[in-house]
């Protein structure tokens, strides 16, 4: 029951937030935080609720099945294992952070908080749904609140960018929908249950095409290079909260999809398409890193770093080796923390200075040392300094790559080096240098520092003491790898 609360609570919470907004005095902000807090409690209850009896695998922590139209094979099926639990926890925490960080948004603040809650609800839906119809439904639903967030509260020509974001992802989502409906149609009797498909044994050739359909949607959301054009624009135009949700949640759904479904549903398809995944990932890391070096807009730079990091996740996922998958899982969560933190800081900078153009920034060290210290911490996370969770993730992926193919490991290391160039570039233009005319007068306030501290502890904690994360991911990785190991 707690699992459904994870989705239903924020969903209806969002609607309620619309109404609560009329009470004024920040009512809807505290209300949203309360809703997300209760959702977090629901997550803990679900997590510690003991393994469900009828779960098909050993790694499922909780499972809810609710047939509402058996004749037509429609059912509401949610299942949570280590990875999805962790990602849901991250999404709720980032939800709370985005509410806290946008305390001064006044325009239609009811709808704003509703969008935040809906995004969290939809991404929780994606992370938990094991019924492919609902998975596809939540996958498309996720786009709507983000579209609203960008188009209403964004900056610059936000409508065009929001539309590009929506069209890009919706069209890609069609691949997923087509595959899901084809599988449902060819199943002996109409069903959308992923567990049934897992045992059903789809013919190998069909598996390849279906995996292509699935990965079309996942790679666009990841984003992998040829399909990434929407990310930089979306990030630059999105409000701070929008960027945090985009980086922290939406990108992770793509990676989660590639983690869960290829292994489970299309093992043969995976063996055919894995090399292309690796190649795409390798190209993506280098391409993303090189492009990040040349950016003049801070958010665009961090957006391209996200592409580089998520391409490393893609390499890890298509490696099909224990270390690589584990590394990908860790990198997903580490990137959620570090990218959101960087966006948060850049957003705070933008609120103060009014520009994100790196050429006009600088001199933060002199005027706001605490701001600079925060930037330094996440600068080191961005270039995967040991001691941060990012390093653990990337080191594991590289170890996995050494088992798979040395040339890819070399490319990953090259991207590690290039990451220094863009990270130091970012730092140089923002922190070092003479305080420019667009200089920051006021240092970080507590409403901004608290989330930074939370994210910093997250990054450093999982970097220094990674058992918490590794123990959680272990069963999920084993289960994902089980069908892949060659007979």
């Amino acid at each position: 029951m707690a699992l459904t609360a994870l989705i239903v609570l924020p969903l209806f919470g969002g609607i309620a937030a619309l109404l609560v907004a009329r009470l004024g005095r920040n009512a809807e902000r505290w209300f949203s935080i309360a809703v997300l807090a209760v959702a977090l409690i629901a997550l803990i209850v679900a997590w510690t609720g003991g393994p469900p009896p009828d779960a098909p695998g050993a790694q499922w922590l909780a499972l809810v099945r609710y047939q509402y139209a058996p004749a037509l094979g429609l059912q509401f099926l949610l299942a949570m294992d280590g990875l999805s639990g962790a990602l849901v926890a991250v999404s709720i925490v980032l939800g709370i952070i985005s509410v806290v960080i946008s305390w001064n948004i006044r325009k239609q603040s009811g709808l704003f908080h509703a969008c935040i809650l809906w995004t969290v609800a939809a991404s929780n839906g994606v992370f938990l749904a094991m019924d492919l119809l609902f998975f596809a439904f939540f996958w498309e639903l996720m786009l709507v609140p983000s579209f609203l967030l960008i188009s209403i509260w964004g900056h610059g020509d936000r409508e065009a960018v929001a539309l590009k974001f929506l069209v890009f992802n919706a069209v890609a989502g069609l691949g997923l929908l087509a595959a899901v409906f084809y599988m449902a149609a060819t199943a002996p009797e109409i069903t959308f249950d992923a567990f049934v498909f897992a045992e059903m044994g789809i013919p190998p050739l069909a598996q390849v095409w279906l995996l292509l359909g699935f990965s079309m949607a996942f790679l666009t959301k990841l984003p992998a290079p040829p399909f990434h054009a929407w990310l930089p624009d979306a990030h630059t135009m999105a409000p701070t909260a929008g960027s945090i949700l985009l980086a922290g949640l939406l990108l992770k759904t793509g990676a989660y999809g590639l983690f869960r479904f290829p292994g489970m549903l299309f093992p043969d398809g995976f063996h055919v398409l894995a090399p292309y995944g690796l190649a795409l990932g390798a190209f993506g890391t280098i391409y993303g890193a090189v492009l990040a070096c040349g950016q003049t807009d801070a958010k665009r730079l961090v957006a391209y770093t996200s592409i580089a990091h998520m391409s490393i996740v893609l390499m890890g996922l298509s490696g099909g080796v224990h270390f690589a998958m584990m590394g990908a899982g860790v990198e997903m969560i580490a990137h959620a923390f570090s990218a959101s933190a960087l966006f948060l800081l850049i957003g705070a900078l933008y609120d103060r200075v009014g520009t994100r153009d790196l050429r006009q920034l600088g001199g933060l060290q002199q005027t706001a040392p605490r701001f600079a210290a925060a930037f330094a911490v996440f600068f080191s996370a961005a270039l995967a300094m040991p001691g941060t969770a990012n390093f653990l993730g990337e080191a594991l992926v590289i170890t996995g790559m050494f088992q798979v193919n040395w040339f890819l490991a070399a490319i990953a290391l090259v991207s590690l080096v290039v990451s220094v160039v863009y990270a130091t570039g970012l730092l140089k233009r923002i922190i070092f240098g003479v305080p420019s005319k667009a200089c920051v007068t006021q240092d970080l306030t507590w409403s901004e520092l608290a989330p930074v501290i939370v994210l910093a502890t997250g990054t450093l904690l999982f970097g220094m003491l990674p058992q918490l994360l590794l123990v959680v991911l272990e069963p999920a990785v084993d289960a994902a790898l089980a069908p892949l190991v060659r007979p």
Binding site: P226, H228, A229, G363, M385, A395, I398, T399
Partner: protein
């Protein structure tokens, strides 16, 4: 609780100081910052000395595990380790760290609170990371220390945030060391895959046990990693430009400890390296070549800090030569001696030039004898040890041991010995140039003495250079190895080399013709412009690629990203354009109106007259009958 628990306490104070100063929210005044910094710097030494003593007495080969976690099949067990090598190097690093940070309290007295706090936080973080690396029992903590040092060096080189040159130097240093780190990470991960565990004492045997190709690759990667960090020949360009940082930073990081970490790495993994003779030979040749190159470049320098930088490059070259010849213990001995006299040289030079006019070129040291006698005399002691004045200075013993091991290493060794000898001669030359310049009297220079915090470390280190002399051979024995002794003649030649260098230095400073040619040798001064070559070969193409990809050169921005979008737009356009006047739409409109017209006609079927309805029924029944009869007719 095993005595090795103290190992954990060694890096702790420095890390604590960093957390307090760097990330701590509390406000400190200047006095508080200095005390915290000093505590953070000296406490590790206080803890390390008894450990070293314990190690001296009995066997000191202990492991202090921190925690272990399972990552799939492998078990990652982090630990700190105490053995003669780490004890010796640990003691040296802690002592030198304490001296330098003590010295920088006075040196940085003028900078304002926020910068001071950042400086001391980073210095303490550096000390903690260096100690982590030295005492590391497993590859993860080793690499953690190794990388954190790179990060601290970036921030410390770019300490003067407003000067673009310092920032550029910091970035260059960080990028090049990061390239080296990439090699090292690759090697460590390969070893991890072989051993299934991260403990050093599992990695080395596992490394040795693998097949030759893989072992060779790992050894080569390790060498490349060491060369990058220790600024050896191909990767050396970042060290001279790193002198843009404050002098204490150069003293601690870029001469004594961090730069020599590469040598320590190779010494730590010596058993593995020795099994690959080709890599050993390469190490030796690179070491010798770098020694010679460093020395020649140092001779032509005009700036004392760049001189000392090139000197560090050449001295570490010597260490690598020793390691390459299979004598890591000798290299470590040289590491200890070099750490002492090089930091002494930097500190004293820094004190002298700070007083003179702030610029650090050698000319500014004129008349230093009378202006800063204490600093100058300490500088002389350091220079003597650097040049290797026989029997008196520690430098001679360790350098002599290296030359001896080169001589005894067979025919190829002799060639290396020759190169090393000429490097030693040149070392003597560049070592004494600033000393001689300092002797030139300057009218009206008032004798001044630095504060207690300046002089105490300098005097301590000066005493150290002389005290260490007799200890070199015991140190090598402590690392359980023997100092090689070449035939007497060879030893004599080695002893003469520094004096030849002194003569050369004398000629260069006082003979106007030669000093003018030295001043003009710009090409040599900039290290035969290897830096410029790198700029053209690596940096400019990368920048061009970046500009092209981001569309600053008029090309489309982010081509791979926009290609599918432009393709889609073209496709949509191609489909929609021919329909611009929309025959399809008109077709639909036509169809709609046709349906309505047809409906108008069809509705008259319903004529309302009963007889027509009856006709309809008749037709219906007739058709049904036809169907019924037709299908059963045989």
């Amino acid at each position: 609780m095993s005595p090795f628990f103290a190992l954990l306490l060694v890096p702790m104070p420095a890390m604590g100081a960093f957390l307090l100063l760097g990330l701590g929210p509390a406000e400190f005044n200047r006095r508080a910052i200095q005390t915290i910094a000093l505590a953070g710097a000296t406490l590790p030494a206080v803890v390390m000395l008894p450990l070293g003593a314990y190690c001296l007495m009995g066997t000191c080969d202990g492991i202090q595990p921190i925690f272990d976690l399972e990552v799939g099949p492998a078990v990652v067990a982090l630990a700190l380790k105490l053995d003669p090598l780490s004890a010796l190097v640990g003691v040296t690093v802690t002592i030198i760290g304490a001296c330098v940070i003590g010295y920088s309290i006075d040196y940085m007295a003028k900078s304002e609170i926020a910068d001071l706090r950042r400086y001391f936080a980073l210095m303490n973080l550096f000390l903690a990371s260096m100690l982590c690396m030295v005492l590391a029992g497993d590859s993860i903590i080793f690499f953690l220390g190794w990388e954190l040092m790179g990060l601290c060096s970036f921030f410390l080189i770019a300490y003067h945030v407003t000067s673009a040159r310092a920032i550029a130097a910091g970035r260059k240093a960080f990028v090049i060391t990061r390239v080296a780190d990439a090699f090292l990470l690759a090697a460590l991960l390969l070893l991890f895959l072989e051993a299934g565990s991260v403990r050093l004492d599992d990695l080395i045997p596992a490394g040795i046990a693998t097949d030759d190709v893989r072992r060779g690759l790992i050894a080569a990667l390790l060498l490349a990693g060491a060369m990058g960090k220790s600024a050896q020949l191909p990767f050396h360009t970042w060290l001279p430009s790193a002198m843009a940082g404050p002098t204490p930073v150069s003293a601690l990081l870029h001469s004594a400890t961090m730069v020599a970490a590469g040598a320590y790495l190779l010494a730590r993994l010596a058993p593995l390296m020795e099994t690959v003779p080709l890599v050993m030979a390469v190490t030796a040749t690179v070491g010798a070549a770098t020694a010679l190159f460093g020395a020649t470049a140092a001779v032509f320098q005009l700036d004392v800090k760049r001189l000392l930088a090139y000197s560090s490059i050449s001295q570490i070259g010597f260490m690598l030569l020793a390691i390459g010849l299979g004598q890591p213990e000798v290299a470590i001995a040289h590491f200890v001696v070099h750490a002492i006299f090089k930091s002494l040289l930097f500190l004293s030079a820094g004190d002298i030039t700070q007083i003179a006019r702030g610029t650090t070129d050698i000319a500014a040291m004129r008349g230093a004898l009378r202006a800063r006698p204490v600093a100058y005399l300490a500088f002389v002691a350091g220079a003597a040890s650097l040049a290797g004045i026989p029997f008196v200075t520690g430098g001679w013993f360790s350098k002599e041991a290296i030359l001896a091991s080169a001589w005894l290493a067979g025919p190829f060794g002799i060639v290396l010995w020759g190169v090393a000898l000429s490097a030693a001669v040149l070392t003597g030359a560049y070592a004494f140039r600033p000393v001689l310049v300092g002797l030139i009297p300057v009218k009206g220079a008032r004798m001044t003495f630095g504060g207690v915090f300046t002089n105490l470390p300098i005097l301590l280190l000066a005493a150290g250079t002389f005290a260490i002399a007799p200890l070199v051979t015991p140190m090598v024995e402590f690392l359980d190895a023997t100092v090689p002794h070449p035939p007497l003649a060879v030893e004599l030649v080695g002893a003469v080399a520094p004096f030849v260098g002194l003569a050369l230095a004398f000629a260069m400073t006082f003979m106007p013709r030669i000093s003018r040619r030295v001043a003009q040798a710009r090409r040599m001064r900039s290290g035969i412009r290897i830096d410029g070559v790198y700029q053209i070969v690596f940096v400019q193409p990368f920048v061009a690629l970046v500009r092209w990809l981001t569309g600053q050169r008029g090309s489309i921005a982010d081509p791979v990203g926009t290609l599918p979008v432009m393709g889609a737009q073209w496709l949509v356009g191609a489909i929609v354009r021919p329909l611009a006047h929309d025959p399809l739409d008109r077709a639909w409109a036509g169809f709609a109106s046709a349906t309505v017209r047809a409906w108008g006609v069809a509705r008259h079927v319903q004529s309302g007259r009963v007889r027509d309805y009856a006709l309809a029924i008749a037709v219906g029944v007739a058709l049904l009958l036809l169907l019924g009869w037709g299908t059963t007719w045989r």
